[in-house]
């Protein structure tokens, strides 16, 4: 991890240290990160959301309803799979996969959307807006809205609607309206900007169902708590299966929701290394990547102070990754705090390393991972080779690779160009 110069983090003092249960302070600060850098027009809605969420998470009825949905609808608990043949390539380390790819809709995203959608019902709102990059969060949101009878509008960068055409079709089939965004770089960050504009205009009856542990308070706290179930289950499962805690927990980090969820099962176990793998794209030195923590600087974006990719004028840079889900110039504020405090480590892997891991897991275990998750797998290959056969590594397999088959087929030249269409994949 890059050493941090504390002076780089202008302003808010570290006095807002996370307290019991690792919650941020009242204003949503994790150390100097987080907070609310948002238009005043949205502050009342966020106050209301924070208050309602706080009541809901302490309401046994709400918690029971969410647990029921996670079990009977999403398929929790997700299994833990030992990847022996894959582990042989990771220096012989034991590699345990937390199978979020087996959840309904194919990724960890369902944990968060079910929780927030239940909250929308509780708040008496009936319109939901969301943003999506790879489409996983959009599909999950459209799914939860269909289940709970809520109107759903999903903003998606025009570039992403093209590379994730199948997910656009899924969202539409589920009854959501997908609005392609052509402003800026036409990717995830612009979809978030557009969703924020919609929210400012329609906040009275609309909930912005943010898809990652970023944004302004209470989103980072709420999204993290809704994903904590990943880490809690994994901790029990690893103990049951190996009799000990893992040496390291690895997860991919774009905005950072799956990582923060799995990390929180182990954050109080000082012997367990928490390692977030960022999108190194074409390499950090190329400038074409999505590695906000390993290569960015502190600033404010989409409502929170955190690390981001920006130029010397504070203009937000365009991120790049072969994975649309990691193609984001910022990262959730709690990760920034975990990085500064040294509790978690962040590294970057290139597109090439991620795609090698993608292919290797497919060939050795019969599991095609999301390209996002392949970044975490690439991290495990590297770490296993460093630590050797004694190591126990837990990798959060955040999603499955169906949505990425078009990208993978082109990358590996698996089929003639004309042979790849959405229809053929069905």
């Amino acid at each position: 991890m890059t050493a941090r110069d504390p002076d780089e983090v202008n302003g808010v003092s570290g006095a807002h240290a996370t307290s019991g249960g690792h919650d941020p302070d009242e204003g949503g600060h994790f150390g100097p990160y987080g907070g609310r850098f948002m238009p005043e027009a949205l502050i009342s809605a966020q106050d209301e959301l924070a208050e309602e969420y706080d009541k809901a998470r302490n309401d046994p009825e709400f918690v029971a309803e969410l647990d029921r949905l996670l079990r009977d609808y999403a398929g929790r608990p997700s299994p833990l799979t030992e990847a022996e043949r894959f582990g042989a390539h990771a220096g012989g380390a034991r590699v345990l996969l937390k199978r979020e790819d087996l959840n309904h809709t194919g990724s960890h995203k369902i944990n968060n959307v079910l929780g927030q959608a239940l909250l929308v019902k509780r708040m008496g709102k009936r319109r939901v807006i969301a943003e999506t990059g790879a489409g996983q969060h959009g599909v999950a949101t459209a799914t939860a809205c269909a289940l709970l009878d809520l109107d759903c509008v999903v903003y998606m960068g025009a570039t992403d609607t093209e590379r994730q055409a199948l997910n656009v079709a899924r969202m539409r089939l589920l009854g959501a309206e997908v609005r392609p965004v052509n402003t800026g770089s036409a990717t995830l960050k612009d979809a978030i900007n557009e969703a924020l504009r919609d929210w400012v205009t329609n906040v009275a009856d609309t909930h912005y169902l943010l898809g990652t542990a970023a944004g302004s308070h209470p989103f980072p706290l709420m999204v993290r708590n809704l994903h904590k179930v990943i880490g809690q289950e994994a901790r029990e499962q690893v103990l049951r299966s190996t009799g000990e805690l893992p040496d390291a927990v690895l997860a991919c980090v774009g905005g950072g929701s799956n990582a923060i969820g799995v990390f929180h099962g182990f954050v109080d176990d000082p012997g367990v290394r928490l390692i977030g793998m960022e999108a190194g794209g074409h390499g950090l030195e190329s400038g074409e990547h999505g590695a906000a923590l390993t290569s960015g600087t502190p600033g404010t974006l989409h409502g929170a102070r955190s690390y981001l990719l920006q130029d010397e004028d504070g203009q937000i840079a365009e991120a790049y990754s072969i994975s649309a889900g990691l193609d984001y110039p910022g990262v959730g504020p709690e990760h920034a705090w975990l990085a500064d405090s040294g509790r978690a480590e962040y590294r970057a892997v290139t597109d090439e390393e991620a795609m090698e891991a993608f292919k290797l897991l497919s060939r050795t275990e019969g599991i095609i991972p999301a390209i996002e998750s392949a970044h975490a797998l690439a991290g495990a290959l590297r770490l296993g080779r460093e630590l050797g056969p004694e190591a126990v590594l837990l990798v959060n397999l955040s999603g499955r690779g169906d949505k990425d088959m078009d990208t993978a087929a082109h990358y590996f030249g698996l089929v003639p160009e004309a042979g790849i269409t959405g229809e053929d994949q069905q």
Partner: protein, 271 residues
């Protein structure tokens, strides 16, 4: 001179202050200086803006509608850099209006709030409007603006609670920016009824002047808002005129708006 003086002078003339917005560097740096000067000069018959908001073009302007976002994007593509902002501010001051800057927080955080305040003051700037910086997060800016004698102009919105109106009024200085509608910037066909109500509610918490923005499109709107607000803020409509008719059109439009504010009000409303 201070923002307070500007509002006092306008009040003595029994009219609201005209506040115009244009991004620096739009469409290019030299042209933006001409447009800003024209905005102050007016049309020859009537002087234009009393206060000019010089926008700092930003890559991710969440509070702005398509018109301002496109103009800011054009400025950035044409090579706008933050340090050039101060040239635009100086030009406005030299033309005789009170310059303030409107900017999202990240570029200022990156520049260094204290250095930004120092350079803004040195260029003749009076204050800063921060669409995504609320008083609770403004500690650094409060310190820097105090040190350099700049005003802090925060926004209030129709959704602001009484508690937040009081808190924002207490933290702000110069004037308060009342976002008249729930939404982003952009000219609209009519002035929202929520603007009048927001101004009324805000006045109960402060004696600061109140400027109303978001949606003012023409002289008629300006006159209507001028009946109940201390300042009328016009942005997107200036950009549209600049795109169509350049500096001449901007000067003419500023004159039209200013005449609208100088006309006898249709009804007498206590300010």
């Amino acid at each position: 001179m201070s923002l307070e003086d500007v509002f006092r002078t306008c009040a003595e003339q029994r009219r609201a202050a005209l506040i115009g917005y244009l991004p620096a560097g739009f469409p290019t740096m030299p042209e933006s200086v001409e447009l800003l000067e024209a905005m102050v000069r007016g049309d020859g018959a009537t002087p234009g803006c009393d206060i000019v908001e010089v926008g700092l073009p930003y890559s991710d302007p969440v509070m702005d509608g398509p018109t301002i976002q496109a103009a800011s994007g054009q400025a950035l593509r044409n090579g706008f850099r933050v340090r050039r902002l101060f040239d635009a501010v100086s030009a406005v001051a030299a033309a005789g209006a009170a310059p303030v800057v409107m900017s999202y927080w990240n570029p200022i955080h990156r520049y260094g709030p204290d250095a930004f305040a120092e350079d803004l003051r040195a260029a003749g700037g009076f204050g800063l409007i921060t669409p995504d910086l609320i008083p609770e997060e403004a500690g650094e800016w409060s310190a820097a603006s105090n040190r350099h004698g700049l005003d802090r102009i925060f926004l209030v919105a129709p959704s602001s609670s009484e508690r937040r109106l009081a808190l924002t009024a207490e933290a702000g200085s110069g004037f308060l920016y009342a976002a008249s509608v729930m939404g982003v910037t952009g000219a609209r066909d009519s002035v929202s009824g929520s603007a009048r109500e927001l101004v009324r509610r805000t006045r109960e918490h402060t004696s600061l002047p109140i400027g109303v923005g978001l949606g003012v499109r023409n002289a008629e709107h300006a006159a209507e808002v001028g009946e109940f607000a201390d300042g009328v803020i016009v942005g997107s409509a200036f950009i549209t005129r600049a795109e169509r008719e350049g500096a001449t059109g901007v000067g003419a439009f500023a004159g039209e708006l200013a005449r609208g504010l100088r006309a006898e009000p249709a009804s007498t409303v206590d300010r």
